[in-house]
Amino acid sequence: MRFVIHRLALFVVALFGLSIVIFAALRILPGDVASVMAGVNASPARVAQLREQLGLNRSLVEQYGDWMGALVRGDFGTSILTGRSVTALVASRAAITFPLIIVGLLIALAIGLPLGCAAVLARSARVRALFHMMSIIGGAIPALWGGLLLILLFGRGVGLIGILPSQGFPLDGWAMPGRALLSLVLPALSVGIIVGASIMRYTRAALGGFADSGYVDMARSCGMTRTQAVLRVGLRLATPQLVSVIGLTFASMITGVMVIENLFALPGIGNGLVTDVGNRDLIAVQSELFLLAAFFLGIGLIVDVLHRVLDPRMKTATSLSEVSQ
């Protein structure tokens, strides 16, 4: 329990620190939303007037205070340009990004877990080496390139076997779930293959570590085959680590899929962030960045706690030095 409180306190402090960094970094940006709204043929007087109306002339401390005050009340502000609440903006983008990374992660797990296990279990050294190379190559493919190859293979209009919508998201969104899901297949596949390779590698490392350990020896002495011992005992022992990996992979995919979102023209979180930065819609950007940071730190927190809960060995541990002495 002390551990959880400790981590929670750290979470709050880190978030606060990041909010200042984010706020300050954004004020260094050249240009502001007033000049973007006023455009190329506007007089300086017009820009100044807009700036005044939008409250961009107030002191930075005042602006930060306002933002923070609203955040504490759960109000993430209203985008200056679109006039919509940041919560609504983020929600509509998350409706694309989250399904994408969930499907991507499922594909990754479907590829990575069995292949990772297989890489440990294979008897022949040559087969093991083959699996190893597979995982290395999978992880070395640039996401952009992998996505392009998939488009060139399966994209409707360009692909050799053009069966899938190559880019874009249906205008009706999830009103037609079939179409929406279909447009996520290729991007999720490109994400899935790459993440799958790293999950495979990771499963191999975690399981491999246990396969050589006393746990498995013990299980085998109870009469299991090596395969059974590794899968039944090794996999269970590796579960806490796998949960950590999957949790943090999931978190990092939110920005990790930015390139894929961009390539496949999906209006997700990453794409939206870039658009908002480009428009200097700072209120939206700072709240979006803050939400992202909170999300990453939050997942880190949950994974830590979950790992503790899942791995009983960690209950009493306090520091490494204690063990090593």
Binding site: I136, P142, L144, W145, R201, Y202, M258, V303
Partner: protein
């Protein structure tokens, strides 16, 4: 010195090691050659022959300005080499500084450092790059700092257990009692002990940096326009997949091969540099403590940051060993094992 040649020789002895060495050497050679010679000048444009197909003059065709794709790819290898070297250097310096702070004798400093690493490690590189690109614009510096920063944290996380063991060893105790300073201890006791982890992690970071460059450049926050790089070539070729799809193959293939080579290199290096796995080396120098397993980072999805979770477990595994197994089976609490951070 003899240690280095033994390491290189044992890398060369393995087929995948040869592959890695050849690819990396080729990379360096091409980068150096591009300094003095490319088939066509980079800066010659030809508006009448844009998006041309491969020909004798343009081995891989031309881009949207009529410039030679092959020459740009050649010149790009130099930029990528530079990015990789800078990233690795930054990663090493930042990572070691964090390691030093994390194992410092001052409890306040070490716990602050641990907390800092814990807090920052879940922030993805892309996000760091996005924030950095705000004041800096698209630039090589963004790629280098964003990657070096993230991978340095990662390195520190992975190297910490081994470093901590070394720092609390009786050698260090006696060195300290003989009046050695913190810096001495770091250089002569801690770094040699984490060298295998360090070497492996740095070569893996190099691979990730190449991947990150291509992604960030495509997003417009990496290498600026007018600077050749593989990411630049990849991003340019994206524009014409509808007209001339095959151009896309080459830059991606180069990146993939180079990253595979870097990763394989890290793998082989781990075995070669590890006195436990490499008997030839053991005869030359005394190493202690098995290195943590190398992880394979992926530039975009950054599982690498996560894999360290296993690292610390794996390394500590060797100490706790079977006692922990017994502890689990019997539901006892006596064999608790340190798991710093996550």
């Amino acid at each position: 010195m003899s240690g280095l040649s033994i390491v290189l020789r044992s890398i060369w002895r393995r087929a995948e090691g040869r592959f890695a060495l050849i690819v990396l050497a080729l990379w360096v050679v091409v980068a150096l050659v591009s300094l003095v010679w490319t088939p066509q000048s980079l800066w010659v444009t030809d508006g009448y022959h844009v998006w041309a197909r491969p020909s004798a003059d343009h081995w891989l065709g031309t881009d949207g300005t009529g410039a030679d794709v092959f020459s740009w790819l050649m010149a790009g290898s130099l930029t990528n080499l530079l990015i990789v070297l800078l990233t690795v250097a930054l990663c090493a310096v930042w990572g070691l500084a964090l390691v030093a702070a994390m194992v410092a004798r001052s409890a306040a400093l070490s716990s602050v450092a641990v907390v800092l690493v814990d807090a920052l490690i879940s922030i993805p590189t892309v996000l760091v790059a996005l924030i950095l690109a705000v004041p800096l614009g698209a630039s090589i510096v963004v790629v280098v700092i964003a990657c070096g920063f993230g991978y340095g944290l990662n390195l520190a996380r992975i190297a910490r257990p081994a470093a901590l063991l070394a720092a609390r060893s009786s050698y260090v105790e006696s060195a300290l009692s003989n009046g050695a300073g913190g810096w001495r201890v770091l250089v002569s006791h801690i770094i040699p002990n984490i060298l295998p982890v360090l070497a492996v992690q740095l070569s893996l970071s190099a691979g990730t940096a190449v991947l990150a460059e291509s992604g960030l450049t495509y997003l417009g926050i990496g290498v600026p326009s007018g600077v050749p790089s593989w990411g630049h070539s990849l991003a340019t070729s994206v524009k014409l997949i509808n007209v001339f799809p095959l151009t896309v193959l080459w830059p991606g293939l180069i990146v993939t091969v180079v990253v595979v080579a870097l990763n394989v290199f890290g793998d082989v290096l781990r075995d070669a540099i590890d006195p436990v796995a490499n008997p030839a080396l053991r005869r030359v120098e005394e190493g202690d403590g098995k290195a943590g397993r190398g992880c394979m980072p992926n530039g975009i999805f950054e599982t690498d940051k996560v894999v360290e979770a296993s690292q610390s477990c794996e390394t500590t595994e060797n100490h706790a060993g079977n006692a922990a197994a017994v502890a689990i089976r019997g539901g006892e609490h006596n064999g608790g094992e340190a798991y710093d951070g996550r």
